[in-house]
Each structure stands twice: as structure tokens, then as C-alpha cells.
């Protein structure tokens, strides 16, 4: 497989930042491929049962894919945003697949995919979280981005603050409120009531 030049990826990233939506479509698979490669390596390096909890993966993808000379530090935000969204999408696809496999089994035969990485319960939780996050984004896209970067991208509050160009204090406050909103939406099953 051809590895794209960092020049190419960087240009796509900048084009997307400048409002070229088509650039994102080209960018996504490239970022995905890189995450792919890195993820397999991380999995080998980690001892079984121990899972990656940090942004190391995304960070490394960024360093490998993007020409650091050319990119202003603010563009990190775009890249991390993309990576986190990608992680969210992948995980949700997987969770929905799980949920479908279960439903498809019907009454007589519950279909168990023993290859499931995500358990039934966890899949349901992820889907609920995703719905709640979408509902939250309708009012406050900033909170959505913070949740994506932290939960799906593995960034710390400090990193989120740096990437989004906000104070640490703001990130902490927004994160806490976002959690309250999401938890509330999921546990009460209400997302949009007056």
C-alpha cells in the first residue's frame, strides 16, 4: 500500500480547514489507514487485557502524517478533531453491528458473535451515549467536541485546552457540565424536553 506523503495529507488538512468539504472525504481514509497501522502495533506492544487509555495513538498519527513545518499549531485541533470523530464513528459502527447481530438472532436463536470486542451491554451504552451526544450537539457543539476529544480521542483536559485554544479552567467546567447533561439524558431517557 502506498503511504501518502505528509505533504499531501497536510495540504488536505489545510484545504479542509479552509472550507473544502471534499478534502475531508479524501483525508478520512488516509487518517484511518494510519490509525490502522498504529493500532495494530500498539496492540502488540500492550500486554493482553491492558488497554490503551491515552492520546498516544492519535498523537503519533499526527506526527507521522502531518508535515510539522507547514502546519500552524492551531491545525492540530482540526486533525485531532478528525481523528476523534473517526474513532467515534468506528466504535459506533461496531457497536451497532453488535446490536444488529443480537436482534437478527430472533427469538429462537440468539446470535452470539464470539468475536465481539464490545459486549452487548457496552454496545447499548455506546449507542445511548452517541444519541445523547448528538442531542447535546444540537445546543452546544463545543461540548460535543470536548467529549469527542476526551472520550473518543483519549486527550487529557490539558491537551483538549491546547488543541481547542481554551483555558484549562473552561475545559474542566464544560467537561463537567457535558457529563451531567449526557448522564442525565441517558439515565432519564429524555433528551429534548422543556
Amino acid at each position: 500500500m502506498m503511504t501518502p506523503s505528509s505533504q499531501e495529507v497536510t495540504e488536505l488538512l489545510l484545504a479542509w480547514r479552509d472550507g473544502n468539504e471534499a478534502a475531508l472525504e479524501k483525508l478520512l481514509p488516509l487518517v484511518y489507514d494510519e490509525l490502522h497501522r498504529l493500532a495494530a502495533r500498539y496492540m502488540r506492544r500492550e500486554s493482553p487485557g491492558h488497554t490503551l487509555q491515552t492520546s498516544a495513538l492519535v498523537n503519533e498519527a499526527f506526527i507521522r502524517l502531518i508535515d510539522q513545518q507547514q502546519v500552524h499549531w492551531q491545525n492540530r485541533a482540526h486533525f485531532f478533531g478528525i481523528a476523534a470523530q473517526l474513532m467515534r464513528r468506528i466504535l459506533l459502527d461496531h457497536a451497532r453491528g453488535q446490536a444488529r447481530a443480537k436482534r437478527g438472532g430472533g427469538l429462537h436463536r440468539v446470535s452470539f458473535d464470539e468475536g465481539a470486542i464490545v459486549s452487548e451491554q457496552c454496545a447499548a451504552e455506546l449507542i445511548a451515549l452517541d444519541d445523547a451526544l448528538n442531542a447535546l450537539a444540537a445546543f452546544d457543539s463545543r461540548k460535543r467536541r470536548i467529549v469527542e476529544l476526551r472520550f473518543f480521542g483519549g486527550l487529557s483536559n490539558e491537551e483538549v485546552a491546547e488543541v481547542m485554544g481554551m483555558s484549562l479552567r473552561t475545559v474542566e467546567r464544560e467537561w463537567r457540565k457535558a457529563k451531567a447533561w449526557l448522564h442525565h439524558a441517558i439515565s432519564e431517557g429524555e433528551t429534548d424536553e422543556a
Partner: protein, 875 residues
């Protein structure tokens, strides 16, 4: 909720959080100022804040990484892994994806399974799995899948095994309800495999229908010995009373077992022995017999609870006439206490065989001959003996068939039944290999092509015949639908490197078989088979082949099957004529040419597609003409005798103004001479004649084309043309509606004229708008809306459309002729003539038909007559 309200709540929440918990109440009383709803909302969010301490604090990035890493193990067709080339995906399971692959070193087909990354990280476990898998394979038992190799390329671990031509038991059970004899036969063979493995100290641990393959010849193969070991929990968890959850934990990162086929001891996480396999086989047997699982539940934990505590329904309650011995046998395999179960598979095997023999005896006693004889293998020696007898029988049968066939041929040459028309149906691919699909389509296509070249025999075109693919075939019904006297059907099966093709020629009047034959060939010889079949069928159709005709039959269009398949697919799309379909046709033909650069037919497909793109303004008409002509000439250079190439060239001359009808018609007639059954040659000729105003002759040709290819959407549309030009609008509309049943509507210019003349304006407009949703920016649809507006007298709207078309046309004036038509519809003679002239200058008057009613407003103008002359149309 309104955004302002949401903002208000969020801000209050923020300030409240800044207050110490004890002071929040007072703060809210003041801040909410009696708005109780607001207060309740903020309070409930504060409660959530407390409950959400650890909520989503641990990131899911690791989980996502795991999912991504897992996905990496997917291979693409054509990819090379070590010395294996991936041919297609056979399936996916929790234990990895399985592919059909070609072993390029040994030149054989194999099954290649990729092991999921998470199971291969522990080197020690991987080693133990390998050891066990190899040990099982080394038993060399006929019911145990043979492993060729366990290997690794980079981080990808894989197992290569023999490729089984058949289907998993799971699929079989989904497709049909198994007969009792079949269920018992499968159970006997699985038990035989287990007996051998257990004797060698190997426990399978994961017996389930997905791991049992049914080979086409009746042999059952058990897969994945040792594999379960990889996914199992580490051995230290051997706690007699461990909670069930230990095995089926939920939460991030947990792995689940195959709950529905677990034994109680497995579900408890206890140590597992041979008796666990017996329980699992019992579940499979129960399910085969009754069609339902013995232990059911909504979720994995429900199923496990059921298998630990509940007794399954007796077989007798699910099925009539269950032998008592079988009931007892199944109950004994499903004992929760393993001490009360069968203690060895051999014991079970003895009982299974006894039940099976009783059943056979009873069935035969009643005079009902069971369709298949269940294979009963006793010992290895007996098995061998059985095998030999089995083959002997097969040899004898083959001989018998041969004899009968020759006798039939000598004495039953169907006197008096002259067969003058035939449809060669797509063959049924009865192999598990999806790659053989192209043979199943390609061989009949080739036979049909060869037969088309014979005079006096009408051969139904592939396009019409293709709609019967995959259907239950009733020759009589097809005969009526297509108007043929005989249909040829076939089945392709593959065994290893051997290919078996069974053919049947059926009389459509009474469904009687006229002729049948089987061909057994090596896969590599497929073109020779094709030739043989084509020749033989023609013989049987009592055609006296002259020497020249025999030569024609032997001609192979290409040696490359893939190329042929691409070409066939490309042609199928081209018949639909939308922009997307035509572009797809081009891409397929290009792929065909890439496979075989000397494949003349592929160039003809390319030529036709470019012609049709240009004539519809989907590409610049001049470019369409140029590329089309180039491709047609290329095809002729490769092979002057290809009818399609002459047809394609004829189309170029008669499709684009200025026309050259004498040259074009000559090419078209040459095509018909070469291949009288080539529907499209008749169709192109019909269109050419219509452009020249020779409507009766045109009608005759369209009817011939339709007879040869009654299901082609574009040919059905061509039949409309002469009626429309003869101004029989009602009949034209009727035929157009029929054509719409066959393919997408609005793919030719003439259609809109038919609607205008019939006055179905609003309805057509509605359908156009709907079609536009799918075919965005299709200029043909935009033109259609414009001409309808003009007919409705909506001048301003029509002019708006003209503007749009003008913009789309650009400097090359692609849609000039269409703009002229709308102006004519608006009775703006000056503009109509001007645009028509401009179009001609720009080479854009493709597909012009002088007799179209749309030109009536300018027909008598001398400028129009002058235009006709310039376009090469006699006046």
C-alpha cells in the same frame, strides 16, 4: 427546548456547581425566581453531576484502537499473502475471516483463515493452539479438516486448510429443515471425527453448526480443532462455583463464548473434557432434528441460565414419529451432570448408528426409498471399504447413463419436431465458489453467441434470458414468455480442479427433455468445453453445419474468462441507457480490455456505450462519435468477422449528423449477415431506417429485434419509434408504458414527444421530478421538463429551462438540438431554426429524426429543408 432556554439552564448549572453543595438550594431559590420547571431541571442536572463522577472518564480510545486493529485483518480480493493469493471471501466468524485463496506454489485452492489479533498476542497460547490443531489434522481422519499450514506474515497470523466445496451446517439448517436421516448422518460423521480426536487426547471445545461443513459429495468435515483454546480464558480460572459471569462478562473488552452450544461445565468456567463435546454435539443434533435450539433465551445469560437449569422439550413435542431410542439418545447427550452423560463418543456412536439403521430399515420397509443413503462408517478399515464400493457404484452409474444416452440419440431424434428457436439460460452455479458464477454466466453466453451465428435458428438474446437467472426454471413458462421452442439449462459444479457441467435441452411445449449431457473437465479447459457444448447442441438441433459454420462455432471470443465476464456485465448495463449505466458499461469494457487487449467484442461494447453517451449529450457528441468510431475500428482490426463490430460502426454512421446512411446500413446488414440473431444489429438498422423515413421497414426490423430480445429496455423503446413517427400516438404510448416495465424511464428523446402528443403532461412532469431525485443534473430529464412546459404553454418556465440547458451545453453546444426542440414547442420558429443550425455546425445534432412531430412548426421552412440536406437526409 428552545436554545435560549437551554442556555439559561446551562448557565444556571454552571453557577450552581460553583457554589458549595450546601448553598445551592438557596442560590436556586433566588435565581429561578419561582420558575419551578427551571429549578427542577437544574436540580436534576445537579443530581446527574453527582452520579456522573466516573462516567465516561475512562476514554474509549483503546477500545476503538482494538476495533481498528481487528479490522486490519481483512484482506482484499487479489491480495497476496505469502504465497497465497486471495480469490474471494468465504465468510466471517468470531474466530476470524475466511477466504478462498490460491496456493500459487502448489497451484491448488485452499481456505485461508485470518486469526484475530487479540488471540495471537500470547505466544504461549498460540503455540499450544498450533500443537493441538496440527495433532488433530495429523489424525488424517476423513471427517476432520486437513490443515496445510499455520503461518504468519508480518503481524497477520493465518491457518491454511483444504478448501471444502460445500456449505456450513448452519447455512443448510437455515435453508431447509433437515430430514431425520440427514441429521443422523451428519451426527454420525461428526461423532466419528470426535472419537478419533478424543482418542488422541484432543477436545474440540467449540462444536457448533458453524464449525461443521457439509461437502457436496456427502462427507462431513469438522473444522477448527484447537481453535477454541485460543479464545478461552486462562486456565487458572477453574473454580467449581465461579459465577457464570466469569465467562460471559459484560463491560468493555470482554470476550464471549459460543453460549448456545456450551456445556454446563463450560458455562461455569470449569475444566473441559471430551464429555463437553458430547453435550455440544447433543445440542447440534437436537437443533438439526427439531429446527430449534434446546435452550433458548433473549440474551446470552438467559440461554446459559436455561442450559444450566431447564430441561429441553422432548423431541416428540416438536416432531411427529420420533423413535423412542432417538429420544433417549438425545436426552443422554444433554444430561447436565457429565457423569450421567455418554462417557465416550464411541458409546454415542454405537447408539447413533443403531438408530440410523433402524430408521433406514423402516423407511425401506415402507417402500419409500430415501433420496440418499446415509454413509455409515464403522472403523477406518470399513470406511475404506465403503469408499471403494461407493466409487464403484458411481462408475457403474456413469456407464449406464452413457449407454442410455447413446441409445436415446440413435432412436429418438425427435422426428418431425424441428427446433427453430432456442433460449440458452444462465447456468446454475451449484458450487460454493462464487468465482464459478462467471462460468455459470459466461458459458451459456458463449454458447448462445456461437449459435447466433447460425442461420435459420433464432437464439434468444442474453439480455432477455438473463432475467431468468437464479429462478426456478419452468421451461414451458419461459417458452411462452420468450416465444422459443426449446430452452437449454445447465448446472456448474466444481470438485477440486474438476468442473462438471450438466446440460438439459427441454422442449417448451411439454417440458420434456430433448437431450441431456454431462461434461467433466479440468477447470483449465473451460473454453474447450464451451466449444464442445456449442457444437453438440447445434448438432442436436438438427442443423446441418457446413464446413464454414463449424469453423465459426469453434471461434473463441477470448481466452480470458475474466475479460469475458466483464464484457457481459458491461453489455447488461448498456441496455438500460441511463448515464450511470452507460458509464458503468464503459468501465466494465475497459476492464475487459485490460484483461485481454485483443478481445474484439470488448471494443464493440465500448463503441456502443460511447455512441449512446454522445447521442444523449452526456458527453460532447463529437467526442462520442470519435471514440465510438475508434473503438469499432479497433475491434474490426482485431477481427473482421465480429458482427458486433460492424453493428457498432454502422451505429456511428447512422447515429450522428451528418449521417451516412448508405455506409451505415451496409455495415448493419453485414452484421446481420454474420450473426442473424444479433438483436442489436436489427435494432440499429430499425433506427437508421426510421431516420430515413422508411417507417414500414423500420417497424419490421424493430419487431425482429424484439423477438430476439424481448426483455431489453432499449429495444422495447425502439419499437415505439415507428408508431410514433406514423403518428399512432395511442399505440406508441401503450408500447412506451410496456418498455417502462423493463427498465428505467426517460432514456430517449422521443419519449417526451409521445407524452406531449398524448397530453399526459402533469403526470409526466410528476414522474420526471421523481426521476430527477435519483438522476441529478441529467440533461435529458431537464429537457423533458422543458418540452412539457412548452406544451403546457408555460413560456417563462420553458425559457428558464432553455437557459439552464444553454449553461450546461457550454461552448460546445451539446444540447443545441434540444434547445431547438423546446423553441419549436413554443412555436418560436426563428430560434428553433437558429439553434438547429448552430447544433449542426457544432456536430451536436446527434440522434436527429426528421419525421418527429416536434419539428412540425418549422417543417415547411426552406431553412429546415436545407438543414436536412446538410445532414445527409434525403428530402
Amino acid at each position: 427546548m428552545r436554545p435560549e432556554r437551554w442556555q439559561q439552564i446551562d448557565q444556571l448549572l454552571e453557577v450552581a456547581l460553583d457554589h458549595p453543595p450546601a448553598e445551592r438550594d438557596a442560590f436556586l431559590t433566588k435565581a429561578c425566581a419561582g420558575d419551578e420547571t427551571l429549578r427542577r431541571k437544574v436540580e436534576s442536572l445537579l443530581r446527574s453531576d453527582e452520579a456522573a463522577q466516573s462516567f465516561i472518564e475512562a476514554p474509549a480510545v483503546g477500545l476503538a484502537a482494538e476495533v481498528i486493529a481487528e479490522r486490519q485483518a481483512r484482506l482484499r480480493t487479489g491480495q497476496q499473502l505469502g504465497h497465497y493469493q486471495i480469490l474471494s471471501k468465504l465468510g466471517a466468524g468470531g474466530m476470524g475471516e475466511v477466504y478462498l485463496a490460491q496456493d500459487t506454489r502448489l497451484g491448488r485452492k485452499v481456505a485461508l483463515k485470518i486469526l484475530p489479533t487479540r488471540f495471537t498476542q500470547d505466544a504461549e497460547r498460540l503455540r499450544r493452539f498450533e500443537q493441538e490443531a496440527r495433532a488433530a489434522s495429523a489424525l488424517n481422519h476423513p471427517n476432520i479438516l486437513t490443515i496445510h499450514e499455520i503461518g504468519q506474515v508480518d503481524a497477520t497470523h493465518y491457518i491454511v486448510t483444504e478448501f471444502i466445496d460445500g456449505q456450513p451446517l448452519r447455512q443448510r439448517m437455515n435453508d431447509v429443515r433437515l430430514r431425520l436421516s440427514e441429521a443422523l448422518d451428519v451426527a454420525v460423521q461428526v461423532a466419528s471425527a470426535l472419537a478419533a480426536a478424543h482418542e488422541a487426547g484432543i477436545v474440540h471445545r467449540d462444536i457448533k453448526p458453524e464449525n461443521i461443513m457439509l461437502r457436496r459429495d456427502g462427507y462431513v468435515k469438522v473444522l477448527d480443532f484447537g481453535l477454541a483454546k485460543l479464545s478461552e480464558a486462562p486456565p487458572e480460572i477453574i473454580d467449581m462455583h465461579a459465577p457464570i459471569a466469569a465467562k460471559v462478562t459484560t463491560g468493555f473488552g470482554a470476550v464471549m463464548g459460543t453460549a448456545p452450544y456450551m456445556s454446563p461445565e463450560q458455562a461455569r468456567g470449569q475444566s473441559v473434557d471430551a464429555r463437553s463435546d458430547i453435550f455440544s454435539l447433543g445440542i447440534v443434533l437436537y437443533e438439526m432434528i427439531t429446527g430449534r435450539a434446546p435452550f433458548e433465551g433473549e440474551s446470552s445469560s438467559d440461554v446459559i441460565a436455561a442450559l444450566l437449569a431447564k430441561e429441553p422439550l422432548p423431541l416428540a413435542e416438536c416432531l411427529a414419529e420420533v423413535p423412542r431410542e432417538l429420544e433417549q439418545l438425545v436426552a443422554k447427550t444433554l444430561c447436565k451432570d457429565r457423569e450421567k452423560r455418554y462417557q465416550s463418543v464411541n458409546d454415542l456412536l454405537v447408539n447413533l448408528k443403531a438408530v440410523n439403521q433402524d430408521l433406514e430399515a423402516r423407511t425401506n420397509g415402507r417402500g419409500v426409498i430415501s433420496g440418499e443413503v446415509a454413509a455409515v462408517h464403522r472403523t477406518s478399515a470399513e470406511y475404506l471399504l465403503n469408499e471403494i464400493q461407493h466409487h464403484k457404484r458411481a462408475v457403474f452409474l456413469a456407464l449406464a447413463i452413457l449407454v442410455i444416452a447413446s441409445v436415446t440419440l440413435v432412436y429418438f431424434e425427435w422426428p418431425g419436431k424441428a427446433i427453430d428457436s432456442v433460449a440458452v439460460l444462465p447456468f446454475v452455479n451449484a458450487s460454493a465458489d462464487p468465482n464459478l458464477e462467471y462460468l455459470a454466466d459466461g458459458i451459456p453466453e458463449s454458447i448462445s453467441n456461437s449459435l447466433s451465428q447460425l442461420p435459420h435458428l433464432k437464439v434468444m438474446s442474453r439480455n432477455s434470458v438473463f432475467s431468468f437467472k437464479g429462478r426456478n426454471i419452468n421451461a414451458k413458462e419461459i417458452g411462452q414468455k420468450l416465444g422459443v421452442r426449446a430452452v437449454l439449462t445447465g448446472t456448474v459444479t466444481q470438485q477440486g480442479e474438476n468442473l462438471m457441467i450438466s446440460l438439459e435441452l427441454v422442449d417448451t411445449r411439454d417440458n420434456s427433455e430433448l437431450w441431456g449431457q454431462q461434461y467433466n473437465r479440468r477447470l483449465a479447459d473451460v473454453f474447450a468445453v464451451q466449444e464442445e457444448i456449442a457444437k453438440e447442441v447445434s448438432d442436436k438441433l438438427r442443423l446441418k453445419l457446413t464446413g464454414a459454420e463449424t469453423q465459426q462455432l469453434a471461434k473463441r471470443p477470448t481466452e480470458n474468462l475474466k475479460a469475458f465476464q466483464y464484457y457481459v456485465q458491461g453489455r447488461a448495463y448498456a441496455h438500460r441507457r441511463t448515464r450511470e449505466d452507460l458509464l458503468r458499461a464503459i468501465s466494465y469494457c475497459e476492464q475487459a480490455i485490460k484483461e485481454d487487449p485483443n478481445f474484439a467484442l470488448a471494443y464493440t461494447g465500448l463503441s456502443d456505450a460511447y455512441s449512446n453517451l454522445g447521442v444523449r449529450g452526456y458527453i460532447e457528441p463529437r467526442e462520442g462519435r470519435r471514440k465510438s468510431e475508434e473503438a469499432a475500428r479497433q475491434a474490426l482490426a482485431l477481427d473482421e468477422g465480429v458482427a458486433e463490430a460492424h453493428a457498432a460502426l454502422g451505429l456511428v454512421y447512422t447515429h450522428y449528423a451528418p449521417f451516412n446512411f448508405s455506409l451505415g446500413d451496409r455495415e448493419l446488414r453485414r452484421a446481420i449477415e454474420l450473426s442473424p440473431s444479433l438483436a442489436m444489429a436489427h435494432q440499429y438498422l430499425a433506427t437508421s431506417l426510421a431516420r430515413q423515413g422508411r417507417l414500414e421497414e423500420s417497424l419490421e426490423e424493430t419487431l425482429k429485434a424484439r423477438e430476439l430480445d424481448p426483455l431489453s429496455p432499449i429495444i422495447a423503446r425502439t419499437v415505439v419509434l415507428p408508431y410514433y413517427l406514423k403518428r399512432d400516438y395511442a399505440r406508441a404510448l401503450e408500447l412506451l408504458r410496456q418498455a417502462d416495465q423493463l427498465g428505467p424511464p426517460f432514456t430517449t428523446l422521443l419519449e417526451f414527444g409521445v407524452y406531449v402528443k398524448n397530453g399526459t403532461l402533469d403526470e409526466t412532469l410528476g414522474r420526471l421530478e421523481k426521476a430527477k431525485l435519483e438522476r441529478k443534473d441529467d440533461p435529458l430529464l431537464i429537457y423533458g421538463i422543458g418540452i412539457i412546459y412548452a406544451a403546457q404553454g408555460k413560456r417563462a418556465e420553458a425559457l428558464q429551462i432553455i437557459k439552464q440547458l444553454e449553461q450546461m451545453s457550454g461552448s460546445s453546444l451539446i444540447q443545441a438540438q434540444w434547445i431547438a426542440r423546446i423553441y419549436a414547442g413554443l412555436n418560436d420558429r426563428e430560434q428553433a431554426l437558429t439553434w438547429l443550425e448552430r447544433g449542426l455546425d457544432a456536430g451536436a445534432n446527434a440522434g436527429f429524426v426528421k419525421d418527429e412531430p416536434v419539428w412540425d412548426p418549422i417543417r415547411n421552412d426552406p431553412r429546415f429543408t436545407n438543414l436536412l440536406v446538410r445532414m445527409g437526409i434525403a428530402t
